[in-house]
């Protein structure tokens, strides 16, 4: 599943160099280890046999909530990445901020407005009130569904919100389960039989939506099912944003504080690009493992065929030779 950090597709793998440059920036930054862990994961041993391309496969999508904010447009990750690669350890303020500082003749007021502008670049739904990221309400659960049972969950919803449910069968025999989604009135909205994964979005009315996973068709195998609920436009979130105002102290100070903000943002940016790189790497590893399985499958097929052929040939030869023995005997006698 493509994730928002798409910029690193064509990049060479400069994990070591990148980490070195990153480390220089972060000397003053608070929090922890970015580059102290080995940036380069252990290089996989090459296989004795080549692998084929796996052109279909199951993708496991889990824990999307962590990656949601990467998809937020306006967050300066995508277009910043290519700039980073060419900078090679430059310690000065990143290029994004330079034009602003160049034109700042008036002093502090412009510098204050800039971070607000940055956050204002986010889509308006995410900015009720002043500035900020709206935590979208979602929950995910993984549970075991015993054989021959059905389990239901309910989710209360307000009017005109959006409910997205995604489920996957992670383990158990045929990796399939029946899925049923019903509206508060009891009307069946979705009914799927023996699917291994699915995604459904509904625009909601007020009430409790019920969704069920049914494993009654299987008598012996229990299934492990993962499902994720993503709720949007729940309405009450606006109040949560206002609540934070009660807890914060002071106003956003100017001059020195701006540099702290810049440092924090830099640190975030470098960590995110490191994340992006590692994800690309892991994607490659995962693809390679799939290829191993594919070649495994082919090899099982091939050698089984060879097995079968050899068996048949050997028994044919045996029968032939036995017949041959008896034939000779009769010829010699007559």
């Amino acid at each position: 599943m493509p994730i928002g950090v798409g910029g690193s597709h064509g990049n060479p793998r400069p994990s070591g160099g990148e980490a070195g440059g990153t480390h220089a920036w972060l000397e003053g930054a608070e929090t922890k280890e970015v580059a102290e862990q080995d940036c380069r994961p252990p290089h996989p041993k090459s296989l004795p046999f080549g692998g084929l391309r796996f052109f279909f496969g199951r993708s496991v999508r889990r824990s999307r909530r962590h990656l949601e904010f990467l998809q937020t447009p306006g967050f300066p990750v995508n277009h910043e990445e290519s700039k980073e690669e060419t900078r090679s350890g430059d310690n000065s303020t990143p290029r994004l901020f330079e034009p602003e500082i160049a034109t700042a003749g008036m002093g502090d007021r412009i510098w204050l407005s800039f971070p607000v502008l940055l956050l204002a670049a986010l889509p308006p739904e995410l900015l009720p009130g002043a500035a900020g990221f709206t935590p979208s309400l979602d929950s995910d659960f993984t549970f075991t569904l015993p054989a021959g049972q059905k389990e239901c969950f309910y989710q209360p919803m307000p009017l005109k919100a959006s409910l997205e449910i995604e489920y996957q069968v992670l383990d158990g025999a045929g990796l399939d389960v029946d899925f049923h989604l019903a509206s508060p009135e009891g009307k069946t909205l979705v009914f799927e039989q023996r699917k291994s994964d699915g995604v459904h979005t509904v625009e909601t009315e007020v009430g409790d939506y019920m969704f069920c996973f049914d494993n009654t068709f299987s008598t012996i195998s229990e299934k492990v099912i993962f499902f994720e609920l993503i709720l949007d436009n729940m309405g009450e979130q606006a109040q949560e944003q206002e609540d934070w105002k009660k807890y914060i102290t002071g106003t956003d100070m100017l001059d020195m504080k701006l540099e702290d903000i810049l440092e924090s943002i830099n640190s975030i940016k470098s960590r995110l690009s490191k994340s992006g790189h590692i994800q690309t790497l892991l994607r490659a590893f995962e693809a390679r493992d799939r290829n191993i399985q594919e070649s495994n499958f082919d090899r099982v097929n091939f050698w089984s065929m060879v097995n079968l052929v050899v068996m048949v040939v050997v028994s044919a030869i045996q029968v032939y030779m036995l017949k041959g023995l008896f034939e000779d005997k009769r010829k010699s006698r007559t």
Partner: protein, 227 residues
């Protein structure tokens, strides 16, 4: 969207809120029904050193009124958490409304099991209990208003702190992913090799058996003076 100034609009908004509050009774989370001795387990696959907080709220089913009572004291739920090696990390009894916390020390599948311990449910409740459950993992466990108050942060600082926590959690998950991928690769490679060697061995055995059979039969017939 909040009605500012307009009278009737404001009243309608308040009514809607009230209705919402009644409907959801303070919890807009997922819920499910559980029987008397039934145990419901959820699996959380988490990296190490990750905090997990679970909240639940129970409601008893009232047989006469055919509704769920808003909240019933005296109902207990037993929460048991097992780590990937099967060792019990948390095993405690909580009231009808509770909050449990644990921190993982090994990465892997942790199992969170809930079951009710009260037997009088069958008598009064018709054997059904509604459990509202919410589980937060990792940086979702942080209470940002509290952090803001403690460290005296401004809003921007608080947001930046939240972002940094989120990224740190992503990093942890990725490390865990790397560890899982390596194990998976080892398993795959060993399976691969085993399949290959077994197939070759099988073929060789088959051919040898065939040759031996022919030789044996030939000598048998020669011995019996049939050939």
């Amino acid at each position: 969207m909040a009605g500012v100034g307009a009278g009737p609009l404001r009243a309608m908004w308040q009514q809607a809120l009230l209705l919402l509050a009644l409907c959801t009774a303070g919890s807009r989370g997922l819920y499910f029904h559980i029987g008397e001795t039934e145990k419901r387990c959820f699996i959380e696959e988490i990296p190490d050193e990750t905090m997990v907080i679970g909240n639940y709220r129970t409601q008893m089913w009232d047989k006469q009124k055919e509704v769920f009572l808003p909240s019933t004291p005296g109902l207990g739920m037993h929460v048991e958490v097992k780590d990937p090696d099967g060792k019990v990390v948390l095993s405690r009894q909580y009231g009808s409304e509770g909050r449990f916390t644990f921190t993982s020390h090994t990465p892997g599948d942790h199992q969170i099991c809930l079951h009710s311990n009260s037997t009088r449910m069958a008598l009064f409740a018709g054997g059904k209990l509604r459990v509202h459950l919410g589980i937060q993992v990792g940086e979702h466990t942080n209470n940002y208003p509290e952090i803001a108050a403690k460290d005296k942060l401004t809003e921007l600082q608080l947001r930046a702190r939240q972002l940094l926590d989120q990224v740190e959690q992503i990093q942890k998950e990725q490390d865990y992913q790397r560890y899982r991928e390596e194990r998976f690769r080892l398993t795959s490679e060993s399976t691969n090799q085993r399949v290959l060697w077994w197939s070759i061995a099988q073929t060789v055995i088959l051919i040898l058996t065939g040759i031996w059979q022919m030789r044996h039969l030939k000598s048998f017939f020669e011995a019996k003076k049939l050939v």
